[in-house]
Symmetry: C2
Subunit: 322 residues, 2 copies
């Protein structure tokens, strides 16, 4: 749990680390007894255990059940026709970052249970998704692919669409299929030309192989990610909003019922379209925060999600209105 420790290197024999960890976690001995049995000082036992934790030998997690069977979970499930809803406690209200990290963490621990060997998982872009991939443990999924659902974009934050998918792929020991093009081009002709490029074409084609997807709901306001990252201008947003857009899903605008709201940007964008995100085996919506309530509702009504991860305050808000 606590901070860095131990002398540098990866240490000699792993055997003894395993033995110490076994005695400590499986047999419940304390460090003194272990030290005696192994014939080393207790401090060494501390080091072995530390190394075990660092190397991922020791896995500590909270059970999923309490979060899945919470009354808010069941309500969300029923209201929006979901297969399951993971609701984490909101924690300190006001601290949006803390809550976001909780939701991301929860998504990261839950995700492996939702995957199977052979899956192809589409991944969207966003802070939550990024934190999810970053913070999760490595859990190999056999014969698995991760594909990037949207093109790249200028990054006002420290992460990119590539990073989201690459990191997740790494965590799952999956092959990563990136989409090495900008999310938006300055004109439709160029976008069209790029889409026709063999390499890009193949990558876009791979999107059709996705049987599962992980995404967030983006807000459709002047402060949204999509504006800050330069995909759309505040004017664009205003225009879309006037035409009913209430959420952003993988860069595309959708209205309050989750229907795609086409517009001037579509032709210039490269990435998955909403129609292709319907009917997947798994659609995992990972989002939270008061500003995401409206977009989440839109995405949920559109039927894009079969599963959701959020916090209790957001869940309450989702259920409260309408």
């Amino acid at each position: 749990m606590s901070g860095r420790r131990r002398t540098p290197s990866p240490s000699g024999s792993f055997e003894i680390v395993v033995e110490a960890a076994w005695l400590y976690y499986n047999e419940g001995l304390n460090q003194n007894e272990i030290a005696r049995r192994l014939g080393v000082s207790r401090a060494s036992v501390v080091n072995y255990l530390q190394e075990g934790r660092e190397r991922g030998l020791i896995r500590i997690r909270l059970a999923d059940e309490p979060f899945l069977t919470h009354s808010l979970s069941l309500d969300l499930q029923k209201r929006f026709g979901l297969k399951a809803a993971y609701v984490v406690p909101a924690g300190s209200p006001g601290d949006d970052t803390a809550t976001l990290l909780r939701v991301a963490k929860a998504a990261g621990t839950w995700l492996p249970a939702l995957l199977q060997a052979g899956d192809t998982i589409g991944v969207a872009w966003g802070r939550t998704i990024h934190e999810m991939a970053e913070g999760m443990e490595t859990v190999p999924v056999a014969d698995c692919r991760v594909v990037q659902l949207t093109g790249s974009m200028a990054t006002p934050y420290g992460f990119t669409a590539e990073l989201c998918s690459a990191r997740l792929a790494q965590r799952l020991n999956a092959r990563c299929i990136n989409l090495h093009v900008p999310a938006i081009l300055s004109n439709a002709a160029l976008a069209e030309a790029l889409r026709a490029e063999p390499l890009i074409h193949a990558q876009l084609h791979a999107l059709g192989d996705c049987n599962k997807a992980v995404f967030a709901a983006g807000s459709c306001t002047a402060e949204s990610h999509i504006v800050l990252s330069g995909i759309a201008s505040a004017a664009d947003i205003a225009g879309y909003r006037a035409r009913g857009a209430r959420a952003v899903l993988c860069g595309r605008f959708v209205d309050e019922a989750g229907r795609h709201v086409p517009g001037p940007l579509d032709d210039r964008m490269i990435g998955i379209t909403p129609d292709r995100m319907l009917g997947l085996e798994l659609g995992l919506l990972v989002s939270c925060g008061p500003d995401k309530v409206e977009p989440m509702q839109a995405v949920l009504r559109g039927g894009y999600a079969s599963h959701i991860v959020t916090d209790s305050a957001t869940a309450q808000a989702l259920l409260g209105e309408g």
Copy 2:
């Protein structure tokens, strides 16, 4: 991990337990910080965490990988054509009970990963199997059934075939199909009559639905379980052994190549036969100890197992001879 604690009851709100556990295990705060945040004494935090552990909210386990990728594991896998081999460190040599508990524990943590929704799991009888079921955490598997592969028997130990399957079913939240008849009758006619009983017949029929099985290898000697529990006499064993029997699999005798060795007891026994244990999706052999080396080799050669759990000393012995 440590001993009993806390005042009796199941405590009021679970919310705060979850919150404390989240802060402690997911966010790495120490108990003082948590106490401050929650506005309670640190002692209360200790109690919440204790309760979380008791209620199964907090799951601590060692990763499977090190045990599956150990060189002995790979050797076993290759030598006996297994899909995977879980080899735990032998620990204190000479202390057979300690090793058996390790193997049982390992089997219990590994098993859920080998199961899927919809499985029907056949379960044999034995100390190892019993300890496995007893010591494992509850991990619900959807739409799952556990069936008892052998009839019941007098119990010189504290457990029965019923208990093995019942407890495992409980751990997996599975339906349990018991076989409420003696494993052995005093004469073939009676056994025949029992087998024809509608209720028993249906239960025996259910054995055919098993797609997975968990079993141990029994030794074929005068000291074996099968003698101590009164199924066979020392004389029976001697006879079978003279005819090549080297192991006991679910109460039936098999030779060094794992072929069924028929004999006088078969007609009087009620339970699965070796031929029906071949070709399952999963055959999990869980055994260890020097006396089990010969029987395990027989069972492995017979192709009954696709997966195995054992300790490193036993693994070495299995590989060493022949």
